[in-house]
């Protein structure tokens, strides 16, 4: 095709965000792995307050979710919204401002957490000045995205592609949930108190908390899936109707789930039940997405043998299907009574976070790097190697946590022949040690994969830049 007829897109900001995402993936998984080693060998905190588990854990979650996940969402959204609407960004300048502010904001978030400043609300630890900054950046991102869709040529692109619906759904939900949960009374620059108290605070917190998972880490990443899977597989999406149904089911369903985090607490019984039953009814809508992605490959399964990037995308769907089955099952009262407060939850989180979120992101990032720098990857072999490290690391992690979590739950409730609890808490902690080691090793493998990815991406960019200067030089010489 003639290059001049091809639409031109704003690529610089996407390039920046893509590399940023990879860097934060490395950083976040290093935090996570070190935190995992600290749980296995507590002396590793070296008595330095800034890296004790309590802080490192939160630095980890903020870095992986917001820095890595957020940058990936921004990069993929800005990338795909242009291409699926056939226009440039509404404002490239605004996108740059958003990206830079986001980077600075996140570094500030991680830094303040390491200094011990926190609201104590999970996934909302940012104290109020930073929370306001995050909300502003998020709004700028949303406005730019919406306006880009609005500015498309409606003759040429009458319909809005499904990836954009998912991004939009995420943006709307995350905005109102984050803002409501963040309502607080500041008493000093880095200390504020929530407007809600007691059980209401808990409910609002998990209303947001679960949707940090449901919208930020799921809806947004389904948007990624819907653009990058058909692109990489070069196959049409299996079913338009399926995408409509599961989209609306997820949008309406997910906001109800938060209460499943608070069963058997002071929360009223009906609230917990409602959260649980809607959770159970989310299995099928969730599988709709996984199914639509996987069936897109039908007739092209053989490509998995040669296309390593596609492998990341497809295995992510398998993990997505698995963890969206596991989560609802864990919401059922009888299962929840065993699984809650145990490592099983942590295993569940990471089969989603590593298996689904990270894998689909990694696939999309490799895809974008090749397109954005118009080149092959520096090494396809290394991508394959990364794939195996990530997969084996993830499996190590979740298997270890399944075993340790279920064991922990069973030990807590075991009675001996006198009808007395059979194990003290300390004994259950001691029993978890081998699994903590195994999890940390899994994390190490996963992190190694991320480091290899960073290397591969950097080398690819250098290679592309060298080629460009060479061709430019050749053109000048001619």
């Amino acid at each position: 095709m003639d290059a001049t007829t091809k639409p031109q897109y704003d690529n610089g900001v996407v390039q920046y965000l893509s590399v940023g995402a990879v860097v934060f993936l490395v950083l976040g998984t290093i935090f996570g792995t070190y935190a995992a080693f600290e749980l296995a060998y507590p002396a590793l905190n070296l008595d330095i307050p800034e890296i004790t588990f309590a802080r490192l854990r939160v630095m980890h979650t903020n870095t992986v979710i917001y820095a890595f996940g957020g940058m990936t969402l921004m990069a993929t959204a800005f990338y795909s919204v242009q291409r699926t609407n056939g226009v440039r960004l509404w404002s490239n300048g605004l996108a740059w401002v958003t990206a830079i502010l986001f980077t600075i904001g996140l570094l500030a978030v991680v830094l303040t957490i390491s200094l011990g400043m926190t609201t104590g609300k999970e996934y909302h630890e940012q104290e109020w000045p930073l929370a306001i900054a995050v909300a502003i950046v998020w709004t700028l991102y949303t406005v730019n995205f919406v306006m880009t869709i609005a500015s498309r040529n409606k003759e040429k692109v009458p319909n809005v592609y499904v990836s954009n619906w998912f991004f939009l759904g995420m943006m709307v939900a995350v905005t109102y949930l984050y803002v409501v949960n963040g309502l607080a009374l500041p008493v000093s620059l880095f200390r504020s108190y929530s407007l809600f108290s007691g059980v209401q605070d808990a409910m609002i917190q998990w209303w947001w908390g679960h949707n940090a998972v449901g919208f930020f880490l799921t809806a947004g990443f389904l948007g990624i899936m819907y653009y990058f899977v058909p692109k990489q597989a070069q196959r049409p999406i299996y079913s338009y109707r399926l995408s409509v149904i599961h989209f609306w089911a997820l949008m309406f369903g997910y906001v109800w789930l938060g209460a499943h985090h608070l069963q058997y607490t002071a929360l009223p019984d009906w609230t917990g039940s409602l959260g649980a039953v809607i959770s159970l009814s989310m299995i099928i809508p969730s599988w709709g997405g996984a199914l639509n992605g996987m069936l897109t490959l039908s007739g092209a399964w053989d490509r998995l043998r040669t296309d390593y990037i596609l492998r990341f995308l497809i295995i992510s769907l398998a993990f997505y299907a698995m963890s969206t089955f596991e989560g609802p099952v864990m919401s059922a009262k009888t299962v929840n009574a065993l699984s809650h407060y145990t490592d099983w939850t942590i295993g569940h989180v990471h089969s989603g976070a590593l298996g689904w979120v990270a894998m689909v992101s990694i696939g999309a990032l490799y895809h974008m790097v090749m397109k954005l720098w118009k080149t092959e990857m520096y090494s396809m072999k290394l991508i394959n190697f990364h794939f195996w490290l990530a997969t084996i690391g993830t499996v190590f992690y979740i298997v270890a946590m399944w075993v340790s979590g279920i064991m922990q739950g069973l030990m807590w409730r075991a009675y001996d022949e006198y009808g007395v609890l059979a194990y003290s808490f300390a004994e259950s902690v001691a029993a978890m040690h081998p699994y903590y080691v195994m999890r940390a090793v899994g994390g190490l493998l996963f992190t190694l994969g991320a480091v290899i990815m960073l290397y591969n991406v950097v080398m690819t960019i250098r290679m592309a830049n060298a080629k460009q200067t060479a061709t430019a030089g050749a053109a000048a010489a001619a």
Binding site: P236, D269, S273, S424, A426
Partner: protein
Amino acid sequence: MAHHNPWPNEGNTGHIWDEDIRELDNPPPLWWMLAFYASFIMIIFYALYYPTIPLANGYTKGLAGWTAVKEYHEDYQKLKDWRKAKFADKEEKLGSLSAAQILQDPDLKAYSIATSKMLFGDYCAACHGVGGQGNPNFPVLADDDWLWGGKIQQIQASITNGRVGNMPARGMMGNLTDEDIQNVADYALALSEGKGDDPQYAKGKAVFAKGMCLACHGPKGKPLAPAGAANLTDQIWRFAPNMNPTKEDMRKSYIHTITYGVNVKKNGEYLPGTRRAQMPTFKHRLPNADVNIKRLAVYVHELGGGQ
């Protein structure tokens, strides 16, 4: 792009984005649709069964009559009934007999020990270690070296009311010099090796008298009666930087203890550097404290060092 479809025969919807993204017109798989409807039906049944729907005043209670608190009480009651059926007589005796009497009854003694493990694990092990083997700065309970006495009543008193050891800084009058302290520390370490009478420690021995250490630690380094002071004639360390300290570690530790004392307070505040040694009181802390303290006292007594 909608006008031009390069893939007319694959059954796509006719919408094409970014040159080659398109969607097929396939219906969702039948099993998926059925399961989707079944999910709705499940919600209805679940909502009938459990308390689920909020109303203007209250909420639907559900056919199961389930509430979380009820489930808890019922389960707990089941356990209590089971325990009562099997052990009511023993529990009653634990209530009415004294700890010393319990010790005399082999059956009750065994029962107390068996039912204490978890209590000890949850309330005591964090400081004293699982099985009472001690931790740096927390005394071993499984040996016969007692600060406050190893008789059953003494152990019971330790748990009931707690214990706070006291030792002044720099001797009874607070007047020992740094040199005195080094000498007396060397002497005290020599005591732990049974070499207290070696002439080379004479200076330290004199300080031991001058500082009136012997008032608490006894003339030969072994307290005459248990009143909280450490026995200095053995190698069971009270304050140590780790589980297996070297002699040099212990010399430093001794000098520190003698310089800053133990639980030394001024105006109700601990002075900097002073050793903190406090056994919390448990009479308000343990559930069913009356019986459980006896149970634990018997357990600790039988860890190995009871007298």
